[in-house]
Symmetry: C2
Subunit: 301 residues, 2 copies
């Protein structure tokens, strides 16, 4: 049996995912939980990490590399942003060693863009993973989620990026806003989604006045919860797409995201005649953490 060589952790706002890795890149063990930054105080981070490692029987000599919001100012230990344009094969160079821990724990930096102002934490590691798997990659990467990122990559470098709060908006509209009353039941409608994508991409300026119609349609007409939910998703994704048009025009988009979200983006791309292919988010994250770990390994003291 292989010995653990290092531990890779994706530590985000809401979740925590950990892999125990052999030197050759084999996954020896893995765990995850809802121990995201938003639930933790600074002093909680080392305990959460050590408890999880202890359960898996990982000795204190095994180093840990972390990406994501654990490196934010309000996280465990701030890992200052790299400034775009920035090469990704040097992501490990920006790692910050956490002080006061017996174990060697390093946190990867996020990436910032000064103008227009933007930031990412976690997505840069997924893109580093993409470059690790496809070293010659050039083009646009779309990472759909709470805050969807659109990133243009060339020469192993993040050139520029944009963020749309589409996932957070969808959660608000469908769970909190007055529209939520029209989405109480489960369900989905491909037809309503495609129609909403068409409406929003052909007339994006009209989206603000169309959102309330989702509620009104239920009150004055006939509409299922599934149609309401799909219409909302289509309007928001369509509006997002039009706001980042230079990122996808004449491009084949590489999607890194979780199911079923990336499928909605693929349908939307299809509606606009954009080519797209999806990559597994966990695989990209792990590849990125792994490549950053080995790239900075020589510098371990």
């Amino acid at each position: 049996m292989s010995l653990p060589s290092f531990v890779a952790v994706d530590w985000g706002t809401t979740g925590f995912r950990l892999w125990v890795m052999a030197a050759g890149g084999k996954i020896l063990n893995a765990t995850q939980g809802p121990f995201g930054m938003s639930r933790l105080k600074r002093r909680d981070f080392p305990n959460v990490l050590e408890e999880n490692l202890s359960k898996l029987g990982i000795g204190s000599d095994v180093p840990v590399i972390i990406c994501g919001m654990a490196g934010a100012a309000q996280g465990w230990c701030e890992a200052p942003y790299l400034a775009a344009p920035t090469r990704l094969d040097r992501l490990g160079d920006g790692a910050v060693k956490v002080r006061g821990t017996a174990r060697d724990v390093r946190i990867l930096p996020g990436v910032k863009q000064v103008s227009p102002a933007n930031v990412m934490r976690g997505e840069e590691t997924q893109i580093a993973g993409l470059l690790h798997c496809y070293p010659d990659f050039e083009g646009t990467v779309c990472l759909p989620g709470t805050h969807t990122k659109w990133v243009y990559v060339k020469d192993k470098t993040i050139r520029r990026f944009e963020t749309c709060m589409t996932g957070e908006l969808f959660a608000f509209f469908s769970e909190i806003s007055v529209l939520s009353h029209s989405m109480i039941a489960d369900g989905w409608s491909d037809k309503a989604f495609r129609e909403a994508i068409k409406t929003a991409t052909q007339d994006p300026i009209s989206v603000p006045k169309r959102l309330f119609s989702i509620r009104a349609n239920m009150l004055v007409g006939e509409q299922s919860s599934g149609e309401a939910r799909a219409s909302l998703s289509g309007l928001l994704i369509g509006q997002e797409l039009m706001s980042v048009q230079p990122y996808w025009e004449n491009q084949t988009i590489t999607l890194i995201g979780a199911e079923p979200l990336y499928e909605m983006y693929l349908w939307a791309f299809d509606e606009l005649g954009i080519g797209g292919k999806a990559l597994d988010i966990a695989k990209m994250t792990l590849s990125g953490l792994q490549s950053a770990h080995f790239n900075q390994k020589g510098k371990y003291k």
Copy 2:
């Protein structure tokens, strides 16, 4: 001292406002509280009303007329929508008499529009009040709030209307979303508001990608809470304005709204070269309730 002739109530989603009126239209007494529909079960409505009337010493022979969400399906007693286009001087005809109360209590209907689907409850009474005060009014009325309404009125009739969820969105972004971390302190910036209005009205399609910049600007640059809040407000109001352009183009807009919200709209109108004048929301509501009360009075049994 004048005797109470009737009681007028504006009963919305979050608030309750009551006026005791003399026959001649004089306000004899008034009260208000946070007893909105969203906090009440159906059986609570009569108790809330009678407790408030009892404190003011109003006998059970004094009739009550109500507008707003108390007439919604999930309110006290459903008052079915009138269908636009609909005349407003006949609003009282659509009033529904609440069953099972000793007192004569009537609830005014809202207005629906079948295509594009839309609904209002409460705003129609404010517009009836506008027509009571200015019988020859013709043009666009903007009623900014949680769900801002844009209403085209001609021949004492609501011809058509649109709804933008700008107020609810502003509350979400500034109090719940990740942007809220950039608006912890109080404050406001007229300059940032006007710049955001300019940005959003010149390039409305870009708004979805600009919202997250409000957060990023704080992380990578310098920006006060007041600038962040004003930028958010300007982006959302600007985006709204562009989505309802046919309502304000070549029009002088009549605003019915509360301070400071209507002032923001007046600044935004100014930025776009639109003329606007603001009317007092409480006065319009009360005028609308009063005219509906007297128009249907002959039908009281």
